[in-house]
Amino acid sequence: MSVSVEQTSVEPTSVEPSRSHSAPANAGGSEALRPHAENAFAAELAALAAHDDRPRPPRWKLSPWAVATYLLGGTLPDGTVITPKYVGPRRLVEVAVTTLATDRALLLLGVPGTAKTWVSEHLAAAVSGDSTLLVQGTAGTPEEAIRYGWNYARLLAHGPSRDALVPSPVMRAMAQGMTARVEELTRIPADVQDTLITILSEKTLPIPELGEEVQAVRGFNLIATANDRDRGVNDLSSALRRRFNTVVLPLPESPEAEVGIVSRRVDQIGRSLDLPAVPDGVDEIRRVVTVFRELRDGITTDGRTKLKSPSGTLSTAEAISVVTGGLALAAHFGDGVLRAGDVAAGILGAVVRDPAADRVVWQEYLETVVRERDGWKDFYRACREVSA
């Protein structure tokens, strides 16, 4: 569930810019529901390129400085405003861009809902002008998706040849000196992951069937994203891990920012699901966000009490789904106002993922933090009811 939420809620920190800017681009050009970054922001990229007089690494469309500006936003000398694509620490973007410039592969880590995919798409668009060389990692991703496959009709008719070969996005990126992207690297089975080792260290992809190889052209690089919270997936081997520089994308910094993101998304989802309108439940949303943040960070917002963290991710995306669920409850079964009781069950479900350990964590949180807090009596009671 968390995956689907992540994919739809493209990245809390950057919801705003993406919407405001893809709209005009849409109107001008393609009919696509969601145009690629390089199309949606073509004007900005062109403006940046025009003013970019710094040295560019081979086959880069922009210099590293311009790429950083593209992501972080800024104003060009001619007054063109570059919208910020990523709202977060500047340091992270600098490290990410520098990593690509030093010809190292980049691994973006983070819990679901921290703009990993979004950042990787925009990096590829700014560096190579093409964000479509993409391998989506799943448990069923085969080696062919990373190396190459065969057109079996041709293979049978003419025998093995370059014509019968179906190159993967990674292979194409190598041949053209572009940036390839691998999404959800840790969901790919370990043996398939390891095919990346040769590609990243030798920068070559042998084709034993033809006795040939494809050598990476300068400018080739790879951006992978992975979820660092679910440990249930295939962890990277240390050999592969060593080939990557890692940047961890953090969760929203302030509670206010997170409340903003949650209310906005809840509003959107509510409309798309045609839920009956429920009066503003911002207090309850704030409460959900507070509970999530406190448990996630292992410390209360006033910074005075430490807490144990449960095993669940408790990402912003999950907070959104808790509130959406609560709204549906309030609208269909309640009195139409979002109350503590409507979100309590959802919170319990999100927090207690491991019935033994997480329950203790949750009970302890209830008894030591929630019970004492002013104005949280109703919430405490509602939670006691559902946890009993």
């Binding site: 590293p64 400085w65 950083a68 340091r91 600098e94 490290v95 861009v97 520098t98 990593t99 410039a101 030093t102 190292r104 691994l107 880590l109 660092d228 240390s238 891990r241 060593r242 520089n245 890692t246 940047v247 961890v248 292992g298 005075r304 009490t305 430490k306 807490l307 144990k308 033994a356 329950r359 203790v360 009970q363 302890e364 008894e367 030591t368």
Partner: protein, 809 residues
């Protein structure tokens, strides 16, 4: 050292050589050494308290290892002190060492500490700009580090310079321009001249920066420089904060300077060298003019070349020691990343922030956890300075002597015992002193078991002053200048460093005994954090009794224990939540240990209920709920179930019949014998059966159950009963047998209760005779108004009165 003599330029020799530095700047230190080598002055003047001149030769001592600090303190008031820390990479230290190596006189030329210390007593809150006066200064705790701070604290002028250069962070600008500058290239004096010009321009713009005291200090320095020039000619080098250079260059009338210095307040001061640590140099420890990364600076200063490569190699070494897989390839990639990042950020060389970013991305998989280790061990570092034995005594020793005189407690080499009655002022003071010294690792007194009285107002100590304790005192001088301040600082540091929860609770208890109220908040903070994160209920249960004990003790000594009570209640809540799951599926040893924890918690909860009824009303009820869960859950080992049932019975939470039913369940044939035996063990208590002898009611319960066992089942029960009772002493067994033969149930069948009558006592309370005792008890406890000796903590007296009445009943 770096071939500077070959560097062409000569010092013009017009006027003294003014070397403006940033305190603790490795680049400045290198530059100072190069400049001194090139100029070869005949005297070196250094910004620092002139009282320390006599101590300068000690810097050359074999045993002297930086970081060290010059410590000035008021003779009459050791708590009143100031420190001038010097690290290996401090320009002042470099200058001192250079002078000593070349047999050139070195002198401190700043305003004497006699004045600066007096200043601070006179105007405790000073004006806002008094840079020496950090908030806590003057009070006995944490004598504030009073390095007359370098330019890094004067954020404003530096920020202006940095802003002009396009930097948003003045620290980084200084690093790029000055500290990261390679040594020995070009004119060794040029950087100082450029800096002087810049500072001159700044001072023109900002004036004195609103710091009147600076003007006085500079006047004094000017006078000193002038007199040195009379002695040595112009061949004099002055090492001082860059900010002061323009003022020293300025020609001012001697009379005007003298006028500024007239009538300054003065106190008698004493100076010494004390060992210092990198951690205390770092800003984190609260010293105004600290630096964030002493370890990094020491590295920059110490390495001959390629600082970033060497730094990252050291980081890799550290991470390898901690079992992280870090290969040379990682180091190579980290160096590349750091270099490119520096270029991207427009810095001439990778600095600490680039190196740190590279370490995080390449070696730590983006995680901040190993990075924290790197920061702690390398960026700050664990370096501890040493001071030669010849250094004068530290003020801590003085303070200790003073206290010993006042409390009439002379240090004697022969061991002796000391009985203290804490109700007496002097004895309480002695107890506090001994407890504080123990905290500081100065084991003059060891607590001994008191003979006779076990009251909380008595303490027995075994005293023995051994010569090496003086060394300990000197070592403890790092922590502060008075026993109180040092013990407080030490307790806080210990709390932060403590590993186990129980250590922290013990420390909290100790803090109360030693009366360190200032350390208590920190200890409580750490305690709360540890308790929240500790997943082992055993640890929590261990911690609770000590905490409750401290609470009671605090009451006796009249300490404010509100925070402590809240803490204890919170701890109890956590135990309540965690205990039931933690009691499932334990083996015999673990179950026995857990039984002890349950007992401890039970006692603590009862005490807690007594002490802070207002804080937590429902605490006892919730604990009974937990016990009920324990007594009824099959996965809980027998010994615990039995214990829980017994505790409930004792508190009257479970009816006699209910307890009998539980016993029947536990001892029914379906239960494995070992488990059943354990239940009996838990229920009857571990006291070797003594409880059964004395508690008629319990025995009655057993008897009733046993006689109720059907004939067929009896043979099955027999082995486990034998197992339980065979562990008792023969005497106990015989007494039990006699009691059973006499028929324990004679009073009132199975449900005898208290009315069943303990042998030798009447069945009910004889009101008249009981009342007759009360006046005597009241007299003993001093409860009647005009009692000659009011008992401290009359609350406890009240309580014991009740208890007595209870016993009489």
């Amino acid at each position: 050292m770096t071939g500077v003599e070959a560097a062409g330029s000569r010092w013009s020799g017009a006027g003294p050589l003014l070397l403006g530095v940033r305190h603790h700047g490795p680049g400045s230190a290198r530059a100072v050494r190069a400049a001194l080598e090139a100029a070869r002055p005949r005297a070196v003047l250094i910004e620092g308290p002139p009282e320390a001149d006599a101590l300068i030769p000690l810097a050359a001592d074999e045993e002297m290892r930086p970081p060290v600090a010059l410590l000035a303190h008021a003779v009459d008031e050791p708590g009143h002190s100031a420190f001038w820390p010097l690290a290996e990479f401090s320009p002042e230290w470099v200058a001192i060492r250079w002078a000593l190596e070349h047999d050139v006189p070195a002198r401190f030329v700043d305003l004497p500490a006699a004045h600066t210390l007096a200043w601070r007593t006179e105007r405790p809150d000073g004006d806002g700009s008094a840079e020496e006066g950090t908030a806590e200064e003057g009070t006995a705790r944490h004598p504030s580090g009073v390095r007359p701070p370098g330019t890094d604290v004067r954020i404003d002028p530096l920020a202006a310079l940095a802003g002009a250069a396009g930097y948003d962070d003045p620290e980084r600008w200084w690093e790029d321009v000055v500290e990261h500058r390679g040594a020995g290239e070009g004119d060794v004096f040029a950087p100082f001249l450029a800096l002087e010009e810049a500072m001159g321009a700044l001072r023109e713009a900002y004036g004195g920066g609103g710091r009147d005291r600076d003007l006085v200090r500079e006047a004094y320095m000017r006078l000193q420089v002038r007199s040195a020039r009379r002695e040595f000619g112009d061949a004099v080098a002055v090492v001082c904060g860059a900010w002061h250079v323009p003022a020293l260059r300025r020609r001012a009338a001697v009379t005007a300077d003298r006028a500024l210095l007239k009538g300054l307040p003065k106190v008698r001061t004493d100076m010494s060298w004390v060992p210092w640590t990198h951690r205390r140099l770092s800003r984190a420890s609260g010293y105004g003019a600290g630096i964030e990364s002493p370890g990094w600076y020491a590295h920059l200063f110490g390495v001959p070349d390629r600082p970033v490569e060497r730094w990252l190699t050291r980081v890799a070494g550290l991470l390898r020691e901690e079992d992280r897989i870090v290969s040379s390839a990682h180091v190579i990639e980290a160096v590349r990343l750091a270099g490119t990042l520096a270029a991207m950020r427009g810095r001439p060389l990778p600095g600490l922030s680039e190196a740190t970013d590279a370490v995080r991305a390449v070696m730590c998989d983006g995680s901040d956890v190993p990075l924290a280790l790197v920061h702690d061990r390398l960026v700050v570092g664990d370096v501890l300075g040493e001071v030669p034995r010849a250094a004068p005594a530290v003020p801590l020793q003085r303070d200790l002597n003073r206290l010993q005189r006042r409390l009439r407690l002379a240090p004697e080499a022969s061991a002796r015992e000391l009985e203290l009655d804490l109700r007496k002022e002097t004895d309480a003071g002695r107890s506090r002193l001994l407890h504080r010294l123990r905290l500081l690792g100065i084991g003059w007194g060891e607590p001994a078991v008191s003979r006779g009285s076990t009251g909380t107002f008595r303490e027995t100590w075994r005293l023995c002053w051994e010569p090496e304790l003086s060394v300990r005192v000197a070592e403890a001088g790092v922590w502060g200048t008075t026993v109180l301040a040092a013990a407080t600082a030490r307790a806080e540091a210990d709390a932060v460093a403590a590993r186990a929860l129980a250590e922290v609770t013990a420390l909290a208890e100790h803090c109360l005994l030693a009366e360190l109220p200032d350390a208590l908040p920190v200890v409580m903070r750490v305690l709360a954090d540890r308790a929240a994160l500790d997943a082992d209920v055993g640890h929590l249960a261990q911690a609770l009794p000590a905490l409750v004990r401290s609470l009671r003790y605090g009451d006796v000594r009249g300490t404010d224990t509100g925070a402590l009570a809240g803490m204890a209640a919170g701890l109890a809540e956590r135990i309540f939540v965690g205990l039931p799951p933690a009691c499932a599926a334990l083996d015999a040893d673990a179950a026995e240990e857990m039984r002890r924890h349950v007992d401890a918690v039970h006692g603590a909860v009862a005490l807690l209920g007594d002490t802070s009824a207002a804080v937590h009303d429902g605490l006892r009820a919730r604990w009974h709920g937990v016990l009920r869960v324990l007594s009824g859950r099959d996965t809980v080992p027998g010994v615990l179930r039995g214990r829980a049932a017994r505790l409930l019975l004792d508190d009257g939470e479970v009816e006699q019949e209910q307890a009998a039913r539980l016993m029947g369940l536990a001892l029914s044939p379906g239960t494995p014998p070992a488990d059943a035996a354990a239940w009996v063990e838990g229920f009857a208590g571990g006291g070797g059966g003594m409880l059964l002898v004395h508690d008629e009611r319990l025995l009655g319960l057993f008897d009733a159950w046993l006689t109720g066992v059907p004939r067929e089942a009896f043979t099955d029960v027999l082995p486990l009963l034998r197992r339980t009772f065979s562990a008792y002493e023969p005497g106990v067994r015989r007494t039990l047998g006699e009691l059973v033969r006499r028929g324990p149930g004679q009073g009132g069948g199975g449900a005898g209760g208290t009315a069943a009558g303990v042998p030798g006592f009447a069945a009910d309370l004889d009101q008249e005779r009981a009342d007759a005792v009360l006046p005597v008890v009241r007299l003993l406890l001093g409860l009647d108004g005009p009692g000659p000796n009011p008992v401290p903590g009359s609350g406890s007296g009240e309580r014991s009165g009740d208890e007595l009445a209870g016993v009489a009943g």
